[in-house]
């Protein structure tokens, strides 16, 4: 991250896309959109377009990797070659492999892993278009895909980043803000349990700024949590209506 001279916040306090500092990008969430997956969800957050699918619980394969007392959660975060400015090779990059791990670890606390010993649950995330904050949007979608697959969960996990641009703490950074800004703090939350399941940071923040950023991110998570519940409700309404017909 390098702070350049161009202004990311104008005189009115608005950001390049017209948002206020504490404002989320427009978010659209759909649940159960893939036919083959056991559970799936689609999220659009700003220009991010991300699909998440869940397969399982199913017999773990290879067997020697199965766990005797709980399910094995696996996660693959993957970007489509056309999702970013310069074409990305389809082979998983080091970044994608790290994100696969932190996303998995942000979802694990939400699942009753011990319900299905010796099985595995696979989470597949495909970023179709990336615009900053894809790991958070991926967690939001993947948690819904888990719910859609009927996996027993403690709570939904909602994720959102806060960060610093032009010395202001702002919510939900888009790509330009992330690249030119001063810091980015992605956070994932199980709202009912007040449990932070993802926390990363890059950039530079004082302790005070950091505290402010975390709190702002948590507020963002709670707003997204509400959207997640709406999306689930919408799905069940659809199912209900379909059942009536």
């Amino acid at each position: 991250m390098s702070q350049k001279s161009e202004k990311l916040i104008d005189k009115k306090g608005l950001r390049l896309d017209g948002r206020k500092p504490d404002q989320l990008r427009p978010i659209k969430i759909e649940v159960a959109i893939l036919a083959n997956a056991d559970g799936s969800a689609y999220i659009q957050q700003g220009k991010n377009k991300i699909l998440a699918a869940v397969y399982g619980p199913k017999e773990a394969h290879p067997k020697h990797l199965s766990l005797p007392d709980r399910t094995r959660l696996r996660c693959r975060y993957h970007m489509a070659p056309f999702s970013v400015q310069e074409r990305k090779s389809p082979a998983p990059s080091r970044r994608e492999r790290e994100l696969s791990k932190v996303i998995r670890e942000s979802l694990e606390p939400s699942i009753f892993l011990e319900y299905y010993p010796r099985t595995s649950i696979d989470i597949f995330i495909e970023v179709l278009q990336a615009d900053g904050g894809t790991r958070c949007a991926s967690i939001t979608a993947a948690s819904l895909a888990l719910a859609d697959a009927g996996i027993p969960m403690r709570d939904l996990v909602a994720a959102c980043a806060a960060g610093k641009i032009d010395d202001t703490i702002v919510l939900d950074l888009m790509d330009t803000e992330d690249k030119k800004g001063g810091a980015d703090v992605p956070v994932a939350l199980m709202s009912n349990l007040n449990a932070i399941t993802l926390l990363q940071m890059d950039g530079t923040l004082s302790l005070k700024e950091f505290e402010k950023a975390v709190n702002l991110a948590l507020k963002g998570c709670m707003k997204i949590y509400a959207l997640q519940k709406e999306a689930l409700k919408a799905k069940y309404m659809n199912v209900k209506e379909a059942a009536k017909e």
């Binding site: 893939l34 489509a80 999702s83 310069e86 597949f124 179709l128």
Partner: protein, 264 residues
């Protein structure tokens, strides 16, 4: 699937087909419903999503500057890649491209290349040194059969949706200029696949049919009704009569699909 389930299903599908019917209610030469949506990934130079029944394929186009092949110094480069990403089917595994993904990409590639759909000479920047590379990335999002036709269609729709940037050469460096223009597309190659089941040909096989078919035959035809690519797949065979029948079906069905695409 266990082999018993497959055998039972095979019998059921075969009996229906003997009567000219199919499990999903279609006639033998009926295509599934097609939806084409272009421009779904704004960040790509071009993109399109195709729904063929429940089969869903996304194609995205990226254009970069690179070097031409030494035997075609005056032509841009076409590269087709297909990913059978694991969210599309329980049978797709993460990892490097499988045999099936490679075949899919190469069949889509041949249709575009052999029909000379793209005027590659117009993608030359500096002969022998710099040309545009057109990356066609086919992304299968849900697999319900007949990935070849859906992928070829998505790739073509994405190419038609593609806007190239303007540029000028400054001392061998390519400088991007404002404005965009479409790719020079000359032909619209359409792939049509028939499956052979119990001696009969059915068009556009869906997943359950593919699982029990003897073999499949894909023919890609261009706007003039010429064949430009063929691929037989599966471990069965065709008679020469069935081959010619497939060619006729392919030509006819391609016309229908091409119309939908031009509309799209």
């Amino acid at each position: 699937m266990s082999s018993i389930v497959v055998r039972v299903k095979k019998k059921q599908i075969e009996q229906l087909i003997a009567k000219g019917k199919r499990l999903d209610g279609r006639g033998l030469t009926d295509y599934r419903e097609i939806q084409i949506e272009q421009g779904v990934v704004e960040r790509a130079e071009g993109s399109a999503r195709v729904l063929l029944g429940k089969t869903e394929v996304l194609a995205g186009i990226k254009i970069e500057v690179g070097t031409p092949y030494s035997d075609t110094p005056n032509e841009g480069v076409l590269t087709v890649n297909a990913e059978l990403v694991p969210l599309a089917s329980p049978t797709f595994e993460p990892g490097p491209p499988s045999e099936n993904a490679i075949e899919l990409a190469r069949v889509v590639d041949r249709g575009i290349r052999e029909s000379k759909a793209i005027d590659l000479e117009k993608l030359c920047i500096k002969p022998g040194k710099k040309v545009f590379i057109v990356f066609v990335d086919v992304y299968v999002l849900n697999h319900d059969g007949n990935l070849i036709d859906a992928s070829a269609l998505a790739a073509l729709a994405a190419l038609l949706n593609t806007k190239m940037f303007n540029y000028e050469l400054e001392e061998d460096d390519v400088k991007i200029k404002p404005g965009r223009k479409p790719l020079p597309i000359r032909k619209h190659p359409i792939a049509i696949t028939c499956a052979k089941i119990n001696g009969k040909l059915v068009v556009d096989p869906w997943l359950e049919e593919e699982q029990i078919m003897d073999a499949r035959l894909t023919m890609t035809t261009d706007d003039d009704g010429n064949i430009c690519a063929i691929q037989k797949g599966g471990s069965g065979w065709f008679t020469s009569k069935q081959v010619l029948e497939t060619a006729k079906i392919a030509k006819e069905k391609a016309k229908e699909l091409r119309k939908k695409l031009v509309k799209a």
